[in-house]
């Protein structure tokens, strides 16, 4: 069964005022176990608004959200329990740390779930391990850590709730390439069991191109494109009209194709691109 299904979501900010703004317009979205869905879109395309509906931070103006088949707004007072099943990691999550020690901060979510002390401690250790934090850091103050470490603590804080769906908003923003790879490794490890799923929001195509199994492109509150990375990246015109850029390697391949080479535009990273180019050279074929 799908972990999350959002049906025809429309969200209007400050309705019936001069500041009225339609942030989402009839968006449908679903995530199945094992998937890693990339949501991309320009600033103001409604990405953050969309994911805030997944755990009930925002209530849709119209439309419905189901988590594991349950309508999350059936009982608005019970909305909090869905926060533990759909874990949301916001942009720059390191700014939300507040506890005296890393351990206590990661334990904030599990504690709010009402788990026992032992269960909490175990989850904290496991979450810290899964994001690659050394045990020696657990006793430190989160404010002493480096930027990348802080971010991993914040992500561990959400993973410790063991959500079925992990949603990350721009998890790689402001990190160096290594930090970025580590974050995506964490996400992939989280998906390894096959039971969980993840949604990664980004405005960078390169980040999602390599990792996502499916991509959704948002433009001005609507779904502009949806499909596998290869499908989505083949619509160069639509993507460029939404103000986004194709991943670097895809752009190179498109450019080659424009020049008359039979370049494969569905490549996902540099290695695949190199292989494709070697094949092209081996075949020697100009189209």
């Amino acid at each position: 069964m799908e972990i999350l299904r959002a049906e025809h979501i429309t969200h209007i900010y400050s309705p019936k005022t001069p500041f009225e703004q339609k942030a989402l317009d009839d968006v449908s979205f679903s995530v199945s176990p094992g998937e890693l869905v990339g949501v991309i879109g320009h600033t103001g395309s409604g990405k953050s608004t969309l994911i805030s509906h997944f755990n009930g931070l925002l209530r849709p103006t119209s439309g419905k959200v189901f988590v594991e088949g349950e309508d999350i707004w059936a009982q608005p007072k019970q909305i909090r329990r869905f926060r533990f099943r759909v874990g949301l990691v916001f942009q720059f999550p390191e700014y939300q740390l507040f506890e005296e020690t890393v351990e206590k901060d990661i334990a904030f979510g599990p504690k709010n779930m009402g788990l026992s002390a032992e269960e909490t401690a175990e989850r904290v250790r496991e979450a810290a391990r899964s994001v690659g934090l050394d045990e020696s850091l657990l006793e430190k103050s989160p404010f002493e850590l480096s930027g990348g470490q802080k971010r991993r603590v914040a992500i561990a804080g959400v993973i410790a709730m063991r959500p079925r769906l992990l949603v990350l908003d721009e998890p790689a923003a402001g990190l160096d390439p290594r930090g970025r790879d580590e974050i995506f490794d964490t996400v992939r490890a989280y998906l390894a069991s096959g039971e969980n799923a993840a949604v990664v929001v980004s405005h960078s195509m390169d980040d999602v191109a390599r990792t996502a199994s499916r991509i959704v492109v948002l433009d001005r509150g609507r779904v502009a494109l949806e499909g596998s990375p290869a499908e989505v990246f083949s619509h160069r015109d639509v993507i460029e009209s939404t103000g986004l850029r194709l991943p670097f390697v895809t752009r190179v391949m498109h450019r080659l194709r424009d020049r008359g080479f039979a370049a494969d535009v569905s490549v996902r990273d540099l290695d695949e691109a190199a292989d494709a180019l070697l094949r092209l050279k081996g075949g020697g074929g100009r189209a």
Binding site: S52, L57, R83, F90, P93, F108
Partner: protein, 268 residues
């Protein structure tokens, strides 16, 4: 959710009221306050009401917005009215029950107090509705600059004020974000007794303070690397120049104040 708070509620526009020099608008507001306190007769109140209606109409601020700003002090207005109606001693008693007496004078006094409050709130909020906070602090700095002679740090205070104003929306946005983030980890800001609720704000307040200090630090570095060193010899990007319309507005307001005073003297 916090986006509904209007603070420093500037409402951009290009009306006559918007274009009047901020320094003059400050003086006009002071005159207006004096005017409200001078008025005593129905004709005086009528004159002020007419003036206010003209200002509101010219500014094109939706009247709904102005009514909204009054709604926040509705309790205060009702309280004042009730207190004055029942506790003003007057000669013409209209109604009496146990310790409560309502006199003609009491009603008149209550009505005039309510009118005064409404005029003051609407009048002064017209200043903030039509003047951007930055222009307003510039105007305050300009008007208080004579105090510099007394070594009073006018420029520094104005700078602090404009920085504070500038960061209000930023901090509100930040609060909103941190709240969402902690809610996503199951934080509950809405239920429980008072003690629990206060405690539930710790995960919000600590990150907020940390980020406020970080921003302050970054701003200080940015200002220092651009050689900011206070007001001495500093030139301005926006130079305030008074135009004919500013003097006309000032003259009109002065005439109106004089009118209100005359009406009071003659008891009309």
């Amino acid at each position: 959710m916090l986006k509904n708070i209007t603070l420093g509620q500037y409402f951009p526009g290009n009306s006559l009221i918007h274009r009047i020099d901020a320094r003059f608008k400050l003086i006009l507001t002071a005159l207006f306050i004096a005017m409200v306190f001078c008025a005593k007769t129905p004709a005086g109140y009528g004159l002020i009401a007419a003036f206010l209606i003209f200002v509101v109409a010219d500014s094109r601020i939706p009247p709904r917005l102005i009514l909204k700003s009054l709604r926040s002090i509705l309790i205060f207005i009702v309280f004042t009215a009730v207190l004055n109606v029942f506790f003003t001693k007057g000669e013409t008693v209209l109604f009496s029950w146990r310790f409560l007496t309502v006199s003609r004078e009491g009603i008149v006094f209550a009505v005039s107090m309510v009118l005064r409050i409404v005029f003051l709130i609407v009048g002064t909020s017209m200043l903030t509705y039509t003047t951007s906070p930055i222009l307003l602090t510039d105007a305050i700095e300009a008007l208080f600059s004579p105090l510099k002679k007394l070594r009073f740090p006018v420029h520094e205070l104005a700078m602090m004020m404009s920085i504070a104003l500038r960061f209000i929306p930023t901090l509100i946005e930040e609060t909103d974000k941190i709240m969402s983030a902690q809610k996503s980890r199951g934080a509950d800001f809405e239920s429980g007794n008072l003690f629990r609720r206060v405690k539930s704000f710790i995960p919000l307040l600590i990150p907020l303070f940390v980020s406020a200090f970080r921003r302050a630090d970054e701003l200080a570095t940015a200002m220092e690397s651009r050689c900011y060193r206070g007001g001495d010899g500093r030139t301005r990007y926006r130079v305030m120049r008074s135009a004919a319309r500013d003097w006309v507005a000032l003259g009109a307001a002065a005439a109106l104040t004089a009118g209100v005073v005359v009406l009071r003297i003659f008891g009309l």
